[in-house]
Symmetry: C2
Subunit: 419 residues, 2 copies
């Protein structure tokens, strides 16, 4: 697949020859490419991913394809997304050290990132389907969301630097367009690439007939598309998290863009809730205790987020927003102002959460939590609970008090027959 | 003031030689520069402005200075603002034909725009101080605000084009920084360049002691600095409007930036309200009727804005936001969704209005409506009404029902002794 610009997709066969001489790859894998074992393991929707192993260890080689892998070359997608992913990873590493894989090498022309091989980490979504717990998961993600949100905003950054960065990332158009369509729009009409479980028609009719809810979804789309509060991960679901029993790393920020501070934690929460609602098809005797653990993760994530955000507010509020000159320097606390900011993040997160719960059952890219339930007659009522709670979250984002209320809502839907 | 990049500030003496040969200037003024009469008339805060007259007619030559004229060369300001002003003017002309002066010529290196000389137009602020009425003022500004807001947003524009434009304007850092400081921050602490009328100390203490209000102001700053809903004029006060008795034009968009759709109309409303509160020092017997006319202008501006926004929503909603696929194509009206968007614009406008009413009495750049009241003992109580109503607007933006309620509020403050 050589192109005029010199881009050429790697294969397991060509990788050794192509990447021979990349010093940091040799350092981590071994100096002799003939000793490298190369496996293509990309199970995502967009890219080639290779594990390269050798006498010194292993590394990941991730290369963008010029189209959406899930769909094929009928849906072209620019290679420059690797450039944005690289810049996202370096910023995340700086803002929350240790949260993302270490970068060894970036080749812009080949749309290729060579990075740390995380082992024995596996994708969090697989763990949640298998009923495995991860110690420290809530704390790790709460810190990640708080630190990237705060340190990427004008609460912390100098405005000129932040605005230059907004300019840089404004070139990434096609990737946000995927989110804009698949997440915010397609679920709510009969879009071409949609698919859904048989039996959901009455619930879908309810969602599509609810103009007030759809208006709120479009309001969130407007915020998502025209709000540069902070640099988002942009796709923070349980498939973008790798974990062992006790260590968690965040991967795959190619959907990076500037957006509202509540976006990442809202999407993440949706993925925990979808894991929660799908559990009855995956668990036996430990169903209730595992579901409760998932809710504890949500509670813990927000608790950590808010505590860390408050710490950063106190210790690192060096940007132009909410300056100390207006509060502390006049002998006045800024706690109420901070809590109002946190409340806005919470409300945005709740609405985003509901929208993500919809799109994963209704538009193109479903998630394995539900998708691997083979019996549609079992899957549909579980998805229906998820969909109707999503609607509730979108409609009532402004009145849900806190994570305790959110968890009570989940427990209530978990017992309901929505079909 | 020649610089290494070839920029050289014009003077009335050098202009003829420097601009000889600029075809469109010769066309509008006359082919022989020795017959040109040149007057420097810049009374604003930032630029050189020349009127060039000759046998064929006249033209305006506007040139940016590399510093803030109001303050001096201790406050440098990049020349590239002329580039952004030029791009703002061309977009405004396209989105609301006839609303802005025609551009004849742009020279980026000289930071220079040659444009239509508006005659016999005068600055609207002067008219409001003199008690002159302008027919069609509300309609003209309502249309301008609605058309630029709607047609510059993703309600109308293709997302890729709009995002590229956000990238272009993200290079304009120093000009928004002036607004961020002077408008949103300086009024609320003892900033170096602040000045205020003697006697206002108790009101200022009330404002600076109100942490809830200051938090709301900072929330609006966050929206202003990190919200790219549409391309704003950015400085739409009564000094940026030129009018005859029956024709109105909008000038000086060098504070152009992407921002919230309610910003321009909110700032404009504040300037009408400041004209309103200052009138007792400028009028005699016709005071009440002229003040009521000012309120009618506010009512008419919003009525036109909302009607035009609704028309554009119906006829030009071609962007990705609130697509017909989710409403009309499913046989469902989008009126409720549109009204929610308009309500958000209104609430943002009310908060911005209150903030503008504060900064014009408290930070660097005061407005002539109050400033020309020579007797501080007369000026202070009028400014106090304005400041206290500004606070009311910021605190209660979400509960003010409509323009009728806004006008009632103005009438109530107009009779109050706030000191």
């Amino acid at each position: 697949m050589a192109t005029e610009d010199g881009y050429d997709a790697l294969s397991a066969e060509t990788l050794g020859d192509r990447l021979a001489g990349v010093g940091r790859l040799e350092e981590h894998v071994g100096p002799d490419p003939s000793q490298w074992q190369v496996r293509e393991v990309g199970d995502g929707n967009l890219n080639l991913v290779f594990i390269v192993e050798g006498p010194n260890g292993a590394a990941i080689v991730k290369q963008a394809l010029p189209y959406v892998r899930l769909v094929g070359d009928s849906w072209p997608l620019p290679l420059y997304r690797a450039f944005y992913e690289y810049h996202a990873l370096t910023r995340q590493a700086e803002r929350d050290p240790g949260s993302v894989p270490e970068i060894y090498h970036f080749d812009e022309a080949q749309a290729l990132i060579i990075m740390e091989f995380l082992s024995p980490h596996t994708i969090l979504r697989r763990k949640l389907i298998s009923g495995e717990k991860v110690d420290g998961l809530a704390e790790r993600l709460g810190l990640f969301c708080a630190r990237t949100a705060f340190r990427g905003s004008e609460l912390s950054m100098a405005s000129a630097r932040k605005k230059a960065d907004v300019g840089l990332f404004s070139g990434n158009v096609e990737i946000p367009a995927i989110t804009e369509a698949l997440v915010f729009t397609d679920p709510y009409f009969d879009a071409e690439m949609n698919n859904h479980t048989a039996g959901l028609a009455p619930v879908i009719a309810t969602l599509r007939g609810d103009t007030r809810m759809k208006a709120k979804v479009q309001r969130m789309l407007m915020k998502f598309a025209s709000n540069t509060e902070t640099l988002l991960h942009g796709d923070l679901h349980s498939g973008s998290i790798m974990a062992t029993g006790s260590e968690t790393k965040i991967i795959d920020p190619e959907f990076v863009q500037y957006g509202p501070m509540g976006f990442d934690i809202g999407m993440l929460t949706a993925n925990y809730l979808m894991a929660y609602f799908s559990q009855p098809a995956h668990r036996g005797g430990d169903l209730e205790s595992y579901q409760e653990w998932l809710l504890e993760v949500i509670v813990g994530t927000f608790a950590t987020f808010e505590a860390e955000f408050a710490r950063l507010w106190r210790e690192e509020r060096t940007g132009m927003l909410y300056p100390a000159a207006l509060f502390e320097d006049q002998g006045q606390p800024s706690d109420e102002a901070r809590d109002a900011v946190l409340r806005n993040i919470w409300e945005d997160a709740m609405a985003i959460c509901g929208i993500e719960m919809h799109r994963r059952c209704l538009s193109l890219a479903h998630n394995a939590d539900f998708e691997e339930i083979e019996d549609a007659a079992l899957r549909a009522p579980l998805e229906a609970r998820n969909l109707m709670m999503g609607r509730d979250l979108i409609l009532n984002a402004e009145t849900i008090a806190d994570t305790a209320a959110l968890c009570d809502m989940a427990r209530a839907y978990n017992g309901k027959d929505m079909l």
